[in-house]
Symmetry: C2
Subunit: 178 residues, 2 copies
């Protein structure tokens, strides 16, 4: 859906709270009122953006095979690409609080499930001595923080491509577990 792409660009440019329906409408090339023929409101637009991204991240977890270090690198790389490739990822983990409680709860569940999945990889690596002993929960949050943060500083016209960032970042983050 083209509208979601447009909305995601505005969310990213202005921040979710500051993004107005009028600006989203203009970015998508239709009138403000017309948005409501496709979505019930701003909340639903945000929800769809977030679900899209989070499903892509879940898929990356499922697709990861091999030793824990390798799986972790794959997931983190996919996560970075979600954040940077299209301009949509930023709203996923980053603004769950903007949703009304009814929509927020299931979204948080999915986000937590993703975090648990990543943590499980870390824990598995610790168990078979691939990684040093560590607080898997804390380390997982550190990793996710580092990758989520890319959405804040990445500039498409910067010196590095998303792919290089994904490589270098995931390598550094996994290295800290050795």
């Amino acid at each position: 859906m083209e509208i979601l792409h447009a909305a995601a660009r505005v969310f990213r440019r202005r921040g979710v709270a500051a993004a107005g329906m009028r600006e989203i409408a203009e970015e998508a090339g239709l009138s403000p009122g017309n948005l409501y023929h496709y979505f019930s409101g701003k909340d639903e637009i945000l929800l769809f953006c977030q679900e899209r991204t989070l499903e892509r991240m879940h898929a990356a977890v499922q697709a990861a095979k091999g030793p824990a270090a390798e799986r972790l690198r794959m997931v983190l790389r996919a996560h970075v690409h979600c954040m940077l490739d299209e301009l949509e990822g930023a709203t996923a983990h980053l603004d769950v609080e903007s949703l009304p409680p009814k929509l927020r709860a299931p979204m948080i569940d999915k986000r937590d499930a993703y975090e648990r999945a990543v943590r499980a990889i870390v824990a598995a690596g610790v168990k078979n001595r691939e990684f040093a002993r560590c607080d898997a929960s804390l380390v997982t949050r550190a990793m996710l923080g580092a990758v989520n943060w890319t959405a804040r500083w990445y500039r498409p016209d910067g010196p590095q491509m998303p792919d290089e960032i994904a490589d270098a970042l995931s390598e550094y983050l996994v290295k800290g577990l050795a």
Copy 2:
């Protein structure tokens, strides 16, 4: 200033954009209109909150002595404490975009100066073989992302104290440089 503490709590609880002057006033124990006797508006309140935190972080950089690894750990630990100890830190790096351009520019300068200072420690460590070769800029951003992210998931009633989080997190982040 007690008002700044109250404002910071509301910023943290609701997010900067969703925090209203009326709620800040109530949290601070005075009337909405009275806020304007102490600050020119919401923007200025946010600015002061951010400056306070950032100055504390700069101070931590100045205070750090010893080998690069040790200095880095000290800075990161201080950064985490800034985020979690008082409830004020979260607005610092996290919502610079909410400021109007006039106030934002000098704020971004200070934030960038802090980032450069941290990066300088990383680069110094690489230069004297304390750390492995790496992209100092990227690694610095990864570290800052990880510590900034703590403000998102930390809960005062959680199992870990800020001090434990600061220790474990800084240790993991520096370990990735070995």
